[in-house]
C-alpha cells in the first residue's frame, strides 16, 4: 500500500523520459522512414506513416544523382568531405595535444595569457574574418582547393582541442612529470613516452569532436570553394535540396547520407562523446 504513490511516481517519470525520447527521435524517424521507401509510396503528406515498402532506390539516386531532376549525386561530395576532414582532424588534434601539454606542465611567464588568447579564437564568429580570409587564401594559391579548406578548418579547430587537452593534462599529477624530469627525461621524451600515451581518452574525444565539427562545417566551404568537384557534402546536400524538382525520398536519403558518418560514430562511441561534454572539456 505504502509503495503505490512511489511506483506511480516512477511510472510518471518513465513516461516523461519516453515522451522526450520520442520528441528527440521524431526528425530522424521522418528522415529514415522517408529515405528507405520507394518514390511511388512516399509523399510529404504521409510523412508520419510507417513506410509500407522497402527500397534503397532513394539512396542510389542521392548517391549518383539524376540529371533529369537537375541534381548531381552526393558520392563525389562525400569523398571530398573525407579528403578535407581527415587531415584537418589530424593536424588540429596533434597541435592541440602539444599545446595542452605545454600550457599545463611547461608554464612560462605569459603562457596563461597566450592560452586565453588562443581560446578566444574558438568563440569568434567566422564572419569577422571571412572577407580577409578569402583574400589571404587566394594569395597563397589555395582558394578553391580542398587543401585550403582543410587547412582553415584545422586552424579554427586548434582552440577547442587545446582547451580539451589542457583540461585533460590538468588531471595528470605534476609529480609524475617532475619525477620524469629528475630522471633526466626531456621535454619531448616526457611528451611521447608519458603524456601522449596517457592522453588516449582525451585523444579519442578530440578526434570524435573534431571529425563531427569539420564534417558538419558549411560556411567556410561555401566561401572558400566554388566548384562542386571540391565541395564537401553539406554544400552538396543544399545544392540538391535547392534543385528544381527532386523527390522527397531522395532528399531524405541525401540528408541521411550526409549525417551517416557522424551519427554512426556517435552511436558506436557515444560514451566518449558524452564523457567529453560531461567533463566540461567541450565548450563551443
Amino acid at each position: 500500500m505504502k509503495s503505490t504513490p512511489r511506483s506511480l511516481n516512477r511510472l510518471v517519470l518513465y513516461m516523461v523520459a519516453i515522451f522526450f525520447a520520442v520528441l528527440f527521435l521524431m526528425p530522424i524517424y521522418v528522415m529514415v522512414n522517408a529515405s528507405i521507401t520507394s518514390f511511388e509510396t512516399v509523399s510529404v503528406s504521409t510523412m508520419w506513416r510507417l513506410a509500407r515498402t522497402f527500397s534503397l532506390s532513394g539512396f542510389a539516386a542521392a548517391w549518383v544523382g539524376d540529371p533529369l531532376q537537375g541534381f548531381t549525386g552526393l558520392g563525389p561530395y562525400f569523398l571530398n568531405s573525407l579528403i578535407i576532414t581527415i587531415p584537418a582532424v589530424v593536424v588540429s588534434v596533434f597541435l592541440g595535444s602539444i599545446n595542452g601539454y605545454v600550457f599545463t606542465h611547461w608554464k612560462f611567464p605569459g603562457s596563461n595569457l597566450l592560452f586565453m588568447l588562443t581560446l578566444f579564437g574558438m568563440f569568434i564568429p567566422l564572419q569577422s574574418i571571412l572577407i580577409p580570409l578569402v583574400e589571404i587564401v587566394r594569395k597563397v594559391g589555395l582558394y578553391g582547393t580542398r587543401s585550403g579548406l582543410s587547412l582553415c578548418s584545422a586552424v579554427y579547430g586548434i582552440a577547442i582541442t587545446t582547451l580539451l587537452f589542457r583540461s585533460f593534462y590538468g588531471t595528470i599529477p605534476t609529480s609524475l612529470i617532475e619525477c620524469a624530469r629528475i630522471d633526466g627525461a626531456g621535454f619531448f621524451k616526457i611528451y611521447f613516452r608519458i603524456a601522449l600515451p596517457l592522453s588516449l581518452p582525451a585523444l579519442t574525444v578530440a578526434v570524435i569532436w573534431q571529425f563531427t565539427q569539420i564534417w558538419n562545417g558549411y560556411l567556410l566551404a561555401i566561401v572558400l570553394t566554388q566548384r562542386p568537384e571540391v565541395q564537401p557534402i553539406t554544400v552538396g546536400l543544399l545544392n540538391m535540396v535547392g534543385a528544381h524538382y527532386v523527390q522527397w525520398n531522395i532528399v531524405m536519403a541525401g540528408a541521411f547520407i550526409a549525417t551517416l558518418p557522424t551519427l554512426a560514430i556517435y552511436v558506436l562511441v557515444s560514451r566518449y562523446f558524452v564523457k567529453g561534454i560531461m567533463s566540461g572539456a567541450i565548450k563551443g
Binding site: L13, F20, V102, G110, M116, Q127, I131, F187
Partner: protein, 313 residues
Amino acid sequence: MKEQTARYAFGRHWNRHRDRFYAVLSLLPSLVLIFVFVYLLIGWNTVIAFSKWHGLKTDLSFNGLKNFIELFQDARFQIGMRNMGVFALVFISGCIVLGFLLALLLDQGLKWEGFFRNLYIYPLAISLIVTGVVWRWLFTPGSEQTGWIGLNQLFDFVGLHFLKSGWHTSQSFGIVAVAIAATWQMSGYVMAMYLAAIRSIPVELKEAAVIDGASPSRYYLHIVIPLVRTTTVSAVVILGHIALRVFDLVAAMTGSGKGFITDVPAFYMWQTSFQGNRFNRGAAIALVLLVLISGLVIPYIARTYRTSDEQGG
C-alpha cells in the same frame, strides 16, 4: 668532486633551459596560425569595415563612420538584429529550461539512464545543415484546403488544433521556428552540463537536506539551483555565442525569408559580401557581431581561466 657537482648543476640548469625553449618552440606553430588567422584577420576586417570597398575592386580608403551610420539605418539590418534577439531569447531559455529539467529527470536513478542520456544528446552529432533540411519539412504548414503537413498534421491528428502554425513561413513566428530546431539540437548538450554539475554535488548535502526534512522540490530549488549557477553562466555564454553567429541553420531552413522574417545579421553579412560584393558593409556587420560576442565571451574567459602564471614550473 666539487667541480663535478658544479658541472652537474650546470647540466641540469642547461637542460631546464633547453626544455623551456622546446616548450615555447612547439607552441610556436599554433601561436603563429592563431595570430594570423584570428587576430591579423580581425584587424584587417576592421580596416575593411571602415573603408570604401564597395564593389569588385578593392578600395581600402577610409570612410569614417559612414558605413556604420548607414548600417544602423538599414531596415534589413534592424529586422535582422531584432530576429537575432528573439532567436537568442527563445534558444537560450529553451535550452536552459529543457536541459535542466532533463538533467533532473535523469538524476532520479532511472533504469536505462545511459540510454536516455545518449538519446537526448545525439542531435549534437548531426550537421545543422541536415537539421535545417529535415525541420524545414517538419515545419511545412500545408493548409486547410490541401491538407495539413508535418507538425501541423500531427497536431491536427491529436486534436491540439491551437498549436498549428505557419512556423517558419509565418510573419510573426518565423525566426522562433528556427530557434525551436536549434533548441532540439542543443538542449541535450546543456542537459549533459547540468547533469555533470548535479552529480558533483556532495552526497552529504543531499543527506543533510533529507535529515532536515526538506522535500525533494525544496532540495532542488534551494540547494541544487544555486549550486549549479556557474554551469548556468557557462551555458548562457556558450549558447549566446552560438545564437549570435547562427548561419548554417538559417541557410538550410529558410534563407532570409519573405520580407526578411528569418533573416539574421550573420546571414546578411554573407549575402551582402559574397553575393553583393558590398565588402565594407559585410565587414561592418561582422565587426558588430564580433563586438557583441566579445562582450559576452571575454569576461567569461578572463574569469574562468585566469590563474597566476607564477604557479607553474
